[in-house]
Amino acid sequence: MNAAPTATVSAGPILDISELSVALPSWADRPQAVKQVSLQIGAGETLCVVGESGSGKSVMARAILRLLPEPQVRIVDGRVLLEGEDLAHADDKRMRAVRGGKIAMIFQEPMVALNPLMTIGRQIDEILEAHTDWGKAERRRRVVATFEDVRLPDPARIFGAYPHELSGGQRQRVMIAMSLVLEPRLIIADEPTTALDVTTEAQILSLLKELQQRHGTALLFITHNFGVVAEIADRVAVMRRGEVVEHGDAEEVLTRPRHPYTRALIEAVPSLVPRKGIAGTDKSAAEPILEIRRLDKIYGRRAQGASWLTRWMPGLGRGRRQAVHAVNQIDLDVKRGSAVAVVGESGSGKSTLARCLIGLEQADAGSVKIAGNEIVGLSRSAWRPLRSRVQMVFQDPFASLNPRTSVGDIIARGAILQGEAPDAAMSQARELLTLVGLEPKAAERYPHEFSGGQRQRIGIARALAVKPDILIADEPVSALDVSVQKQVLDLLDSLRRRFGLTMLFITHDLRVAAHVCEEIVVLKSGRIVEHGKTAEIFADPRHEYTRALLSSVPGRDWQLRLVGSSAGPGTD
């Protein structure tokens, strides 16, 4: 019924969403996940939808493809016109043809989106089989050509490979190839680079952009990261609680945001300009509180799980695992009162290093001295007196607090274990809660009553309760929304100065590192490749890998420009 008019349409938008509303079930925190959203995307155009968790951006993207968990979550109002055809009211058969055919979707986690038991080639071949009537040889030609298009190395090998044989970046390229193979009019990408390392992210973003220009596809890009927006967007829509609060040209929104919420979000992006050393606190003279010498940790050589059974019967599984040198001959001195960022991509060994320092992993060789005390080779009970020296803030605030223990008990426990009387420990816990910006009466409540940022504050209070000298923070903000990230970082920074803490900050995010640390250690495959003052490394990276990391930070040019024009986010 729509074949005649749409065949010649080219000037109008590919996708025209008008007044779209999606209802949530009665028990949700608000009646509508998406409220009266209107958006258009033209051919060859990239629209970025930005928002924090719970803003409804993903639900909106799924509503276009009608991938909602109906009937609880369903479209109640509005139209979704794809080249003039209303998808909001199309039947299931039509939607199947549209999905993959005219609109393709790229998901966040490629490992979950791919079937682990099917070869990559077969999974893409299946799409062509369903949507075209081509022969086998023709389909294969097309798949291999698409692999070349997304610049996968050795397409013939990839065709026969299984998902686990590829790297994360390659898997995401496969997902993009999958979405391109039918030459769709629109690609919806839901946080496609969030699970990737920065250098891989940069490659995928430039690939997406290049492919889009070559094929003239419309791209709807969902993200929470303003850096990514600056890299890729032509136009931006900012969503908050289901509504579009600001919508416009990317350049305009990024440099001159009008809505206060957009402004707050952009200001919350940590600046890439490295902090200067605090005046009068030059640490070069201070004695090292943490001395790491030739530290080694190897996984899988003789896996801890390896049983006597596998030794008798080596064919049984685990014996074949390859050894990974997670921490390789690391030497590092951390001076009292300094803040050192350990930066690296996934698999660089940065978390393993942290876990060795806090006694959650046993190093294989080398030496670590905390204020003169050797910790490598200590048993759990010999560790106990040292627990008040070094503490850790964990990554995931939703997993790091025992759901069945009250907040007060969680914080007070450490002090009680160090010999404090329970009453004194509890009143100290209340003081700590005030210190991290929560109400003292939060002590009686349970973790599920708090938001992610508040929970991370509780985690910080727990770590501080034993009055540690060294605080190790393992990606403490990577699970938080942007606007909360900055608050938590600032809290860590002020607490550190107030108590003269030494901080080891594990992160993959150079922005975060620059925001809180004067010193940076860059880790790659378990080795330190560069170590120095943050400002010096940012100005003049010596190692090739550091340079690659720095140039891959999404939105780098935009932020530097903002700072240059001084109209940028106000950093105090």
């Binding site: 049983s307 106990r384 964990f394 790091s400 223990t405 727990r462 034993v466």
Partner: protein, 276 residues
């Protein structure tokens, strides 16, 4: 946002039925001497009196009251099943917790032991145990507990394994908490829900095993139980159907109720299915 646990449980009609029946059985067992005057082994009237007549639920081949047997039998059956299950939960829970928490060689050893017990057909194993220990209430409890702890150990081990790698447990380690305290304060409270569900379903299995043992004459002597009543009545099935049917239906309804409640507990406690 979410309704309280008890309300959710009772709002489920099948769970409500189960709870009501279980409540009646427990009440009858507790008040047995009050609601059934006669000793279950005492002869109260003429043999083979039909049920729902003047003699309550009828009498058996020796003239003993079926009602008394049912009520005192509930006592025996429930007591043995609950004690056996509690012992199985305690022992299986300990084995599973140690295996999951320490891993490595201890895990290998304990889990191979568990599998060894699982490979023996449980009912035949129970018969063997009672026969070896000579039939008594204690040996029935021991036999049932011995054959029913392995699934508990497996459930607890799985839970402990996942919980051990959770960050809040690691935080407890970095605070210097002792192993026993980590297990008791951090891990076990969070592993309770699957334990409660498995444990409640285990009571049903224990009732069936106890009844089957009594049916074979391997139950506790001098104690009336439902299985014993079915066993004693089976030779008169064609003349006096009620001798088998009444305790049989009691077993059926009780086991069914426990399963319904267990499933409802699972729905109410399992966060993945929770749609408040």
């Amino acid at each position: 946002m979410t309704r309280p646990f008890w309300i959710r449980l009772v709002a489920n009609p099948r769970a409500a039925f189960g709870l009501v029946w279980l409540g009646l059985v427990v009440l009858a067992a507790l008040a047995a001497p009050l609601i059934a005057q006669a000793d279950p082994f005492a002869i109260t009237g003429s043999p083979f009196a039909r049920p729902f007549g003047e003699s309550g639920l009828g009498t058996d081949s020796l003239g003993r009251s079926v009602w008394s047997g049912l009520v005192f039998g509930a006592r025996t059956t429930l007591l043995i099943a609950v004690i056996a299950t509690l012992s199985a939960v305690a022992f299986g829970g300990l084995v599973g917790a140690l295996a999951g928490f320490y891993g490595g060689r201890i895990d290998d050893l304990l889990m191979r032991l568990t599998e060894f017990f699982q490979t023996i057909p449980s009912f035949i194993f129970a018969i063997l145990l009672v026969a070896m220990l000579s039939p008594s209430a204690t040996s029935v409890v021991v036999a049932i507990a011995t054959v029913s702890w392995p699934p508990i150990a497996r459930v607890v081990r799985g839970e402990v394994l996942t919980l051990r790698s959770r960050e809040f447990v690691q935080a407890a380690i970095t605070l210097g908490e002792r192993d026993a305290a980590i297990l008791l304060r951090q891990i076990l409270p969070n592993a309770l829900s699957p334990l409660i569900v498995t444990g409640s379903l285990l009571v049903a299995t224990a009732i069936l095993t106890e009844s089957a043992l009594s049916f074979l004459g391997l139950g506790a002597p001098n104690l009336m139980s439902w299985g014993f009543m079915v066993g004693a009545g089976r030779s008169f099935l064609r003349d006096a159907w009620w001798l088998v049917a009444i305790p049989g239906v009691a077993i059926l309804l009780t086991v069914l109720s426990i399963n319904l409640v267990g499933e409802a507990l699972n729905d109410a406690l399992n966060p993945r299915l929770r749609t408040p």
